[in-house]
């Protein structure tokens, strides 16, 4: 019986491109989560990720506050 895309991604056949991606360090459980979403939900996730990345970049520019923080 043919396996579903999810089954293939979560249990890759040895020597497959999916196994290569897993060994490269791609978290394929996240790929599976994305596959379950609608295109709009994927884009909403992307936009959220962009916002988070922008916040991280702001924090990086400000630098650490020190062990005790602002106060």
């Amino acid at each position: 019986m043919k396996r579903t895309p999810e089954e293939k991604l979560l249990n890759p056949r040895p020597g497959s491109k999916i196994a290569d991606a897993r060994d490269f360090g791609i978290d394929l459980t996240l790929t599976v989560s994305q596959l379950r979403l609608t295109p709009q939900q994927r884009i909403d996730n992307l936009q959220s990720g962009m916002r988070f990345h922008a916040e991280l970049e702001k924090a990086r520019k400000i630098g650490p506050l020190g062990k005790r923080g602002k106060g």
Binding site: K2, R3, P5, E6, K8, L9, P12, R13, S16, K17, I18, D20, A21, R22, F24, I26, D27, L28, L30, T31, S33, Q34, L35, L37, P39, Q40, R42, I43, N45, L46, Q47, G49, M50, R51, H53, A54
Partner: protein, 162 residues
């Protein structure tokens, strides 16, 4: 960071002929990759360049890293006189590509695209094969980071693979 809703709805509202080709297309295909900009291949027809100008001009595009003391005018002539542009706009970074390495121009991009509906608009984006070909041809370090997941998705979604 690009405001995708504003960009996509403006392009759709002006009937611009374009195909999303970069990180946003990769996300549409279920990758967790996060980009910061919108890259698209556009038709270089005179009429489309007019529509593209009207779609983007509200966002005051400026070439990325353009010297502050140098004037820049964004108009139809600017778009006609170039092919590929990297713009910073009031809604984020937008890259316009007249041609995509490994694929070709807009007609080729269109032939290698699929349609998604986002923000209530029909949006064409590179299919998985075109993304793999273009990322392989671009051959930059950041392309090598996304290729393994794209190849995995292609294999997972291929009904002929076990």
């Amino acid at each position: 960071m690009i405001d995708l809703e504003k960009a996509i709805t403006s392009l759709a509202g002006h009937d611009v002929d374009y195909v999303v080709v970069g990180g946003v297309a990769i996300s549409l295909h279920s990758s967790g990759y996060i980009t910061q900009d919108l890259d698209f291949c556009y038709s270089r027809s005179k009429e489309n360049i007019r529509r593209l100008y009207h779609a983007l001009s509200p966002f005051s595009p400026m070439p990325r890293n353009w010297p502050q003391d140098l004037p820049f005018i964004f108009d139809e002539s600017t778009l006609r006189n170039g092919t590929n542009f990297t713009f910073d706009t009031s809604i984020g970074a937008i890259d316009l590509l007249g041609e995509v390495k490994g694929i070709g121009d807009y007609v080729d991009a269109l032939a290698n695209s699929v349609v998604y509906t986002i923000f209530g608009c029909e949006v064409r984006a590179f299919d998985l094969d075109a993304l793999i070909v273009s990322k392989t041809a671009a051959n930059r370090p950041k392309d090598h980071l996304v290729l393994p997941e794209l190849l995995a998705l292609k294999e997972a979604l291929d009904p002929n693979e076990e």
